[in-house]
């Protein structure tokens, strides 16, 4: 039963799967940015769990630390592309070392970016990205939705 449940969850441990020293909000501000994490890892990982009907567990622990803007940009873009209604029940954030990050993402980031999505206030892209998934008219579509500014 436990193994069955386990297989329903895809995991990302940021320290091992992405970068131990996470950076700022935008790609043009430094390496390992929130924008970069979203486009190189989080968007694909979430679209996969959505299609397979699984959960995505993101473990924030054991890195050097985070900027609030890194998490805001990464998880905010996820809400912008998939809506809070789809993301919230399919994502689990592990942050035992700094529990306030989990609270910030769930309580503030999700709501702020949902408002942003509704008001069509598009996020800034500071680098050219490959096509990424977005939930449009009830299905996932891959495209370059926003051009580099």
């Amino acid at each position: 039963m436990f193994r069955e449940m386990e297989s329903q969850v895809n995991k990302i441990k940021i320290k091992n799967d992405y970068n131990e020293y996470t950076g700022p909000r935008y790609c043009n501000q430094g390496a390992a940015s929130g924008e970069d994490f979203y486009h190189t890892m989080l968007n694909d990982a979430f679209s996969l769990v959505y299609r397979e009907g699984k959960m995505l567990e993101i473990d924030l622990d054991d890195t050097a630390g985070y900027l609030s803007s890194f998490l805001d940009e990464a998880f905010g873009n996820l809400i912008f592309d998939f809506t809070v209604e789809i993301v919230k029940p399919r994502i689990k954030i592990i942050s035992t070392q700094e529990p306030d990050w989990e609270a910030m993402i769930i309580n503030d980031v999700f709501q702020d970016w949902e408002n942003r999505r509704v008001s069509n206030n598009f996020p800034k892209k500071t680098e050219k990205h490959q096509e990424w998934f977005r939930y449009v008219n009830g299905q996932l579509t891959k495209n370059v939705w926003i051009q580099q500014q």
Partner: protein
């Protein structure tokens, strides 16, 4: 024909006269490459940013003024010999300011050390001399584990900052280990600076992260100091016109504006609703006890989070932002009780 000949003779006479010895002209001539003069700046007796910020800021302004001196001035000499009180904070900002001159090749900066024994010792151990050479062109001998890390760049240097913090933690715990609250704070400060700095001058960002390892009352303490020479928070915080109007009638001074900035009262300059979480995060890490003795100097404000009675408006404008804070074992225990 005759008139032309006379004009020619007159011109020749004038030329002869102009070629004669002219004392004014001789002096003027020396203003060229051969002239080699020096400006001397006296740091005074009180060189402490936390107790006498005005005196330190005055020296920074005088150094700033030196960028516009005539070309025949080739050297700036900073006289630190009369200093009777000094702190690591003043040394950090002085180094940050001197660092700016590394881009002005025609000006060389030199100086002496404080005569006062205690001040001299603190100065030698601060890490300041790691960036200097002696008169023979050799590097100074390192006398302590303290260091000042130059992180001037248009990008955040994640790994460099992370590893530096890990090394500093070894002083407290005996092993290199991560301390996310301090990493977050330093990165927040640097990324703010990158994002809102003048985009045309962004490549020459000038930050210094000073780390001082000290023993206070049988307790090991790591002091951090981050200096960002630039515009300062008060000059860059975004306030709506309506807010400015209300505040001007409510006797809200710069000190109150800075406090409100840390409380997240104002919106972000980008005007995006999801922004402005960084400054409140710094305050939160202090209130949670993960750091202590947090002090901020920016523009004309000195904000002391630990001793609010010390917070005040200062007479001179600090050209940038200066943060200092400390951590000890208690902070680590509060952060990670396990």
């Amino acid at each position: 024909m005759r008139r032309r000949r006379r004009a020619k003779i007159k011109r020749r006479e004038l030329n002869i006269q102009r070629n004669k010895f002219n004392p004014y002209k001789e002096r003027y001539h020396k203003r060229g490459k051969e002239r080699n003069e020096e400006i001397e700046l006296d740091a005074g007796t009180n060189f402490s940013l936390l107790t006498h910020p005005e005196a330190v800021i005055e020296l920074l302004h005088r150094l700033e003024g030196c960028k516009k001196v005539p070309r025949y001035i080739k050297r700036i000499f900073i006289d630190l010999s009369h200093i009777q009180t000094i702190d690591i904070d003043a040394i950090n900002v002085l180094l940050a300011k001197i660092n700016e001159f590394s881009k002005i090749k025609r000006l060389h900066i030199s100086g002496n050390m404080p005569n006062n024994k205690n001040c001299r010792e603190l100065f030698e151990k601060s890490g300041f001399l790691d960036y200097m050479i002696d008169l023979s062109g050799n590097k100074f001998e390192k006398k302590s584990l303290n260091f000042i890390l130059s992180i001037g760049s248009d990008k955040t240097l994640n790994e460099k900052i992370g590893r530096t913090i890990e090394k500093a933690m070894k002083f407290l715990t005996g092993v290199e280990q991560k301390y996310p609250p301090v990493y977050s704070i330093v990165q927040e400060m640097c990324s703010n600076s990158i994002e809102w700095a003048n985009p045309y001058n962004n490549r020459n960002r000038n930050w210094l992260l000073g780390i001082q390892l000290v023993k206070k009352n049988f307790e090991q303490v790591v002091n951090f100091a981050l200096t960002d020479i630039g515009f300062g928070i008060i000059n860059t915080v975004y306030r709506k016109i309506g807010t400015k109007f209300v505040e001007s009638f409510g006797n809200i001074d710069d000190l109150e504006i800075l406090k409100r900035t840390f409380e997240g009262v104002y919106g972000s300059k980008s005007r995006e609703p999801n922004r402005n979480k960084g400054m409140p995060l710094i305050k939160d890490r202090f209130e949670s006890g993960y750091i202590y003795d947090l002090r901020v100097i920016t523009n004309k404000v000195f904000l002391d989070f630990s001793a609010k009675e010390n917070s005040r408006i200062i007479a001179r404008n600090f050209p940038g932002t200066y943060y200092s804070w400390s951590i000890n074992k208690k902070c680590l225990e509060r952060w990670n009780p396990k």
